[in-house]
């Protein structure tokens, strides 16, 4: 009997000790971001290589299965792509002409900012958040490859998210469909600003919410492009977020809100591109320019 009491007492001490360790870790990581570094380094040599291995195996298997796609479907796809290519070529020619004009005008205005020429690093998604509450994932490139916190992450032509923490050979990315994500955005045609907010309850539908769009005369049709805005201090300007899916005037009559279909398929995310320039870098460059002159 006495022995049993002792063991339950020691269990309580264990609970207290582990809880205390957890609390200390929480406080430390709140105070400085370096508290997690040793743990991340441990993960770097243990869990991460295994995840990379599993990921490679998965990619091999998916390649393997896609090899068995029938010739017919490939032919059909080829035809469709060919048609698309023709349309795009014509469009590209038009755009090229306009670009020359734009270049000339920009030169006149001494504007020299081209948002499409950011330098990017490709990375594989190796694992996703184990829970259902958040939407973060890990990529297989880290600070050793030039990844830094706050760098924007894209897939294809759309915005995926932002790097929230890095270690030597891996980094965590929070996607824009995550419930705690807020992106300052604008409507491409009218440059009206709005906030794009991830919402857990919309995650299953594959949509995200936008709100606080000014209720002015500018008509925003369904299908309109929403891009990152010029005032955001974390996201670079002009990255495509998605297309307007539904838009409603709020009950206050002052603002409009609605839903966006993201340009990126978040369910089948395999490869992403990390833009190595951050908004802070650009701002610094701007500041040094203006002070230099």
């Amino acid at each position: 009997m006495r022995k049993k009491n002792q063991s339950s007492l020691s269990n309580k001490y264990w609970l207290m000790a582990i809880s205390a360790i957890c609390c200390i870790l929480m406080i430390l990581s709140l105070v400085s971001s370096f508290a997690a570094t040793p743990f991340k380094e441990i993960a770097n040599i243990t869990v991460i290589p295994m995840q990379k291995g599993i990921n490679q195996m998965g990619m091999f298997l998916s390649d393997f299965t896609s090899n068995f796609e029938t010739l017919q479907s490939v032919k059909a796809e080829n035809k469709a792509l060919q048609e698309k290519l023709d349309i795009l070529t014509i469009e590209n020619n038009n755009l090229q002409q306009e670009k020359y004009e734009l270049d000339r005008l920009q030169e006149l205005y001494k504007l020299d900012q081209n948002y499409s020429d950011y330098k990017k690093i490709g990375a594989h998604v190796i694992s996703k958040d184990p829970g259902n509450w958040f939407s973060t994932f890990t990529i297989d490139k880290g600070s050793a490859d030039g990844i830094k916190v706050d760098q924007n992450v894209m897939a294809g032509s759309g915005l995926v998210g932002i790097v929230t923490s890095t270690s030597t050979h891996w980094a965590t990315v929070r996607s824009i469909i995550d419930d705690s994500s807020n992106v300052s955005a604008m409507v491409l045609s009218s440059s009206d600003r709005c906030m794009v907010r991830g919402d857990l309850s919309l995650m299953t539908d594959g949509k995200i919410q936008f709100e606080q769009l000014e209720n002015n005369d500018n008509v925003v049709p369904v299908g309109e492009q929403i891009v990152t805005s010029y005032i955001s201090d974390k996201y670079l300007q002009g990255i495509l977020i998605g297309y307007v899916n539904e838009i409603n005037v709020d009950s206050s009559n002052l603002t409009r809100s609605g839903y966006i279909t993201p340009a990126v398929d978040f369910r089948n995310l395999q490869e992403v591109l990390v833009i190595t320039t951050t908004k802070a870098d650009l701002k610094e460059a701007d500041n040094s320019d203006t002070t230099g002159e």
């Binding site: 339950s8 020691s10 269990n11 264990w14 609970l15 582990i18 809880s19 360790i21 957890c22 609390c23 200390i24 870790l25 929480m26 430390l28 990581s29 709140l30 508290a35 997690a36 743990f39 991340k40 441990i42 993960a43 243990t46 869990v47 295994m50 995840q51 599993i54 990921n55 998965g58 190796i126 694992s127 996703k128 958040d129 184990p130 829970g131 259902n132 509450w133 958040f134 973060t136 890990t138 929230t164 891996w170 965590t172 419930d179 705690s180 857990l200 309850s201 995650m203 299953t204 369910r267």
Partner: protein, 172 residues
């Protein structure tokens, strides 16, 4: 010692499966929580201490790779592991109802804790919506998976128990 090593391997394998393969098995973007099954099962079948230790390390793994604050998930899983330890006295390994009930209970408590600390405190008051969309589906899916995972944990534990008994009787 061997038991510890095997437990650690099971833990790491579950974590890896959870972050990689189970993304493909998700139904309606809901996936089961293997680590919680593990923590809960170790808690009620092996007692407070094992539950706590397994819980602490599963939480820590999540914290390191995905958490914003280190130690948050570790604390939740530790407490869940400890709480499951209380049921060791009434637990028989032939009975499958109590384990399922405990795993379901742990899953519900876990969901509510996450909601309160990560969503309610940010001003998201639609509890019923989260209950319907995340907590209950995750609970059901976890229960289905635990029907497969729990017998495996039981099998491993039984083998080690038998071994320990044998080696103990050798000395007697």
């Amino acid at each position: 010692m061997k038991r510890k090593a095997v437990s650690a391997v099971i833990l790491v394998v579950c974590f890896l499966l959870q972050c990689t393969l189970f993304n493909l098995l998700s139904l309606g973007s809901i996936k089961p929580n293997l680590l919680l099954i593990l923590t809960s099962a170790f808690g009620f079948s092996r007692g407070h201490k094992d539950g706590m230790v397994i819980g602490f390390f599963s939480g820590l793994l999540i914290d390191i790779q995905f958490g914003e604050i280190l130690g948050f998930y570790a604390l939740i899983y530790t407490i869940i592991g400890f709480a499951n330890g209380f049921f060791k006295q009434i637990y028989y390994d032939d009975d499958v109802k109590l384990p399922l009930l405990l795993i379901a209970g742990s899953e519900a408590v876990y969901g509510i804790i996450i909601y309160v600390f990560q969503f309610l405190l940010r001003g998201e008051f639609h509890f019923v919506r989260y209950l319907e969309q995340i907590i209950v589906p995750e609970l059901l899916y976890t229960l289905v998976i635990s029907l497969a995972l729990y017998p495996f944990i039981l099998f491993v534990n039984r083998r080690f128990d038998a071994k320990e008994k044998r080696s103990a009787s050798k000395f007697v």
